[in-house]
């Protein structure tokens, strides 16, 4: 043994929200928004992998033109359940319930959301809805498509429509409560000095999302309730035999479900605004335009549902108006994309993992949005309706948009959430794999759809096989890419490098407290005297050279 031995003296663990209390009960009965966010994170990840399993089955079946792996009835259930799980139990709660829940109080300098108990309740409601839906899946599944169109769902389907509907109905209340909590928190809980126009854009986009939560979700709740009664008791508000109108169901359904697309993508846009400004170390270009474009998307989003009904008996004049309004909703979306791009111009960009996701988002969202304009055109939609073009379009928005933002945000705030750094090299690698895999999966579907391959069939003419083989290959790469973060996030919770309070060196309030934060978020209520993206003056950056965090400490 040598006389002098050097060893690390372990620093005493600081009290934070993770180690403040131990035991299962302290988690299941917690009222801390940060712990509830983690409860959500665990549960939505679970549902994500179930939904991913169904996606894998779809892609495997479509590898060959014949319906050989799954029968048509099973295939109907598989794509229905893929949609239901991914939309209602992953995408809609994904960013708001995890990152939003964790960050909204921290970003505005509050100790918690306005209603901590309601916040916990919303998680239990989500769980109850999830358990009922899983029961329906295990009992025999549902085959109506995630859209539950009548009269198939009310009269003819022999699957578990009511149980699944009940699960979604219950889950809806969790969204409503989350939205309510966010709105009240943003209105009443801001720290001194945190004016509306000093709020990070993440907050603005969550405010807009919450508006959709509270205005849209109750409509799907009553619609599903009426649907369930109609199926059980044959009281037909949608039943033509009684003078009811099945198309009314589509109107009510899409009145929620189209804005629901914005529920998925708006929070993601909020994340991207943070990432773009912070990783290019430049104040966002046109802050108030980006902020108000979120609200504009939320408002316009409620006025375009009719573009899902272009090929129904909807009047042609209604169709024209809905077509026009659908084009109009592209304006605020484009404002965001242009402002992000303008922010990047002549800025000091660092290509860390979150930024890779953000740059990926801009490209993929642009493709998704532009193809949406094809579908908003009345005549083109008649050709493209119910083809793989539609499938590719909304996956570009939901996966290329919402999921990219979610993963980018998760990487970006992971040091704050877990107190550990994720492995940067693996992070960049998996971001690239996911980007490549995603494009390989869904680009060919645009072509297949444009050539006329319909969606929701388990067999298809052989001339479409080349696109489907590409797509399945891409899906495998995408699935592999998703596994990498799943592994290293878990790994980093134990073995990752300890994160400092502000690993990215940013001005936001959430970075001005320790990582992970204490239960009360801040030791003293902060007083805000700066704008959301107020970075150090340019001269300082030039002295230091490049804006690498490790250099900045010199």
């Amino acid at each position: 043994m040598r006389a002098i031995e050097s060893f690390e003296v372990p620093a005493p663990p600081r009290v934070n929200y993770i180690n403040a209390q131990y035991g299962l009960k302290s988690w299941l009965l917690t009222k801390d928004h940060k712990r509830i966010a983690l409860l959500y994170l665990g549960s939505i990840t679970f549902f994500f992998f179930i939904g991913g399993l169904y996606a894998m089955m779809i892609r495997l079946e479509l590898l060959t033109p014949q319906g050989d792996l799954l029968q048509s009835t099973t295939y109907n259930k598989v794509f229905t359940q893929h949609g239901i799980i991914m939309i209602f139990f992953f995408l809609i709660p994904s960013i708001p319930a995890t990152l939003g829940n964790f960050l909204i109080p921290m970003m505005i300098g509050a100790k918690d959301l306005a209603f901590p108990r309601i916040n916990l309740l919303s998680w239990y409601i989500y769980l109850l809805g999830g358990v009922i839906t899983i029961y329906a899946l295990l009992a025999g599944g549902v085959d109506t498509g995630w859209t539950f169109y009548t009269p198939f769902s009310t009269t003819f389907s022999n699957s578990y429509v009511v149980a699944t509907g009940l699960g979604i109905f219950i889950n809806g209340f969790s969204s409503i409560l989350t939205g309510l909590n966010f709105i009240v928190t943003i209105h009443t809980m801001r720290a001194p000095g945190m004016t509306w126009f000093r709020m990070p854009l993440f907050i603005w986009s969550h405010y807009a999302t919450s508006l959709i939560f509270i205005l849209g979700t109750p409509v799907i709740a009553i619609t599903i309730l009426l649907l369930a009664f109609e199926r059980i008791a044959h009281v037909g508000i949608f039943d033509p035999a009684l003078g009811g109108d099945p198309i009314l169901f589509q109107h009510l359904f899409w009145f929620y479900s189209h804005p629901a697309v914005y529920i998925m993508v708006l929070p993601s846009m909020g994340v991207i605004s943070e990432l773009i400004a912070n990783f290019s170390r430049k104040n966002i270009f046109g802050y108030s335009f980006v902020a108000f474009s979120s609200l504009a998307i939320a408002v316009f989003g409620f006025l375009v549902w009719g573009h899902h009904l272009f090929v129904t008996s909807q009047s042609v004049y209604a169709g024209m108006i809905f077509s026009f309004l659908s084009f109009a909703v592209a304006i605020p979306s484009a404002i965001k994309v242009f402002n992000w791009t303008a922010t990047l111009y002549k800025s000091s960009i660092s290509y860390d993992t979150p930024m890779l996701y953000a740059l990926g988002f801009i490209g993929l969202f642009t493709v998704g949005g532009m193809t949406g304009l094809f579908l908003a055109s009345l005549a083109v939609d008649v050709h493209l309706s119910d083809t793989y073009f539609v499938v590719a379009h909304f996956h570009y928005i939901m996966v290329g948009g919402a999921l990219m933002g979610y993963l980018g945000g998760l990487h970006y705030w992971w040091p704050k959430i877990s107190g550990r750094m994720y492995p940067e090299g693996w992070g960049r690698f998996s971001a690239l794999v996911i980007f490549v895999g995603f494009n390989l999966t869904f680009l060919p579907q645009f072509i297949a759809g444009y050539l006329g391959m319909p969606r929701r069939y388990h067999a298809y003419p052989p001339e479409f096989q080349v696109f489907n083989v590409l797509s399945t290959a891409g899906a495998s790469i995408l699935g592999f890419g998703m596994l990498i973060p799943a592994i290293y996030f878990v790994w980093s919770m134990r073995y990752g490098k300890h994160a400092e309070a502000n690993p990215w060196h940013l001005p936001g309030l959430e970075w001005r407290t320790q990582s992970p934060p204490p239960t009360e978020n801040f030791e003293v209520t902060p007083i805000v005297t700066w704008d959301a993206y107020e970075f150090a003056p340019r001269e300082e950056t030039e002295v230091v050279g490049k804006f690498r965090p490790e250099l900045e400490r010199i």
Binding site: A110, K111, D112, L113, A114, F115, P116, I176, G179, L180, N181, I183, V184, T185, H187, T188, M189, I214, L215, G216, T217, P218, V219, A221, I222, T223, L226, F229, I232, A233, H234, V235, G236, I237, A241, L242, G243, G244, D245, L248, L252, T525
Partner: protein, 248 residues
Amino acid sequence: MATEATTQDVHGHRSLQHHFENMEQQREAGTLGMWVFLVTEIMFFGGMFLAYTLYRSAYPASFASASNHLDITLGALNTGVLILSSFTMAMAVYFTQVGKRRPQVLCLVVTLLLGLTFLGVKAVEYYDKYEDHLIPGRLIPGNPFNPAVQAEGQPVDPHKLHLLPGATVKQVELFFWIYFAMTGMHALHMIIGAGLLTFLIIFSLKGRFDPEYHSPVEVIGLYWHFVDIVWIFLFPLLYLLGRHLEHG
């Protein structure tokens, strides 16, 4: 920590939750929360109002015929009962704000009794519909929708459905489903309201509310008024259609 505790003793109210800075912020959050919740309620009922509007304009004769079959006396009575209960609820909020506990409890109890009266009258009406086989679909197994239809020229029988020209029994069934869906959902809200009032009465008796802390009374009062307003819309829309055609 110690200094924090003492400042809380000086400035904090015992009902102040830890994450609020002061009572004013807590009250504001609670009230805004209820208003936002009521917005969701409007959207929830809105789906049914939309269905009502569509089918009422598509089948005016059937809706008028079915509407005439509802008991306007009981409906009007219930409207009065609810308006009165809104008044006593408003007074309960007022007495809480000024800190008069005894009239506050009294007003809450009267509000609760009026609410229960409403539900009782509603139950009588529902039972009448059951007797006349007006429950739509298979909502009640073994008792399908099968009303007796009044033949032309026969003496008026209140238990028989009088169809105006152009009305059909199937469309009347659609009306009755909308009627039961809307009033049933309204009654469910009344039952929840009665539960909330019971909670308020218990806590008032315990002396939990005072001029500094009255937001639960205020917030539940908002909810109660909202449920009343829904009825104010339901009553004319459901009960008062086509009376003039019947008796004019």
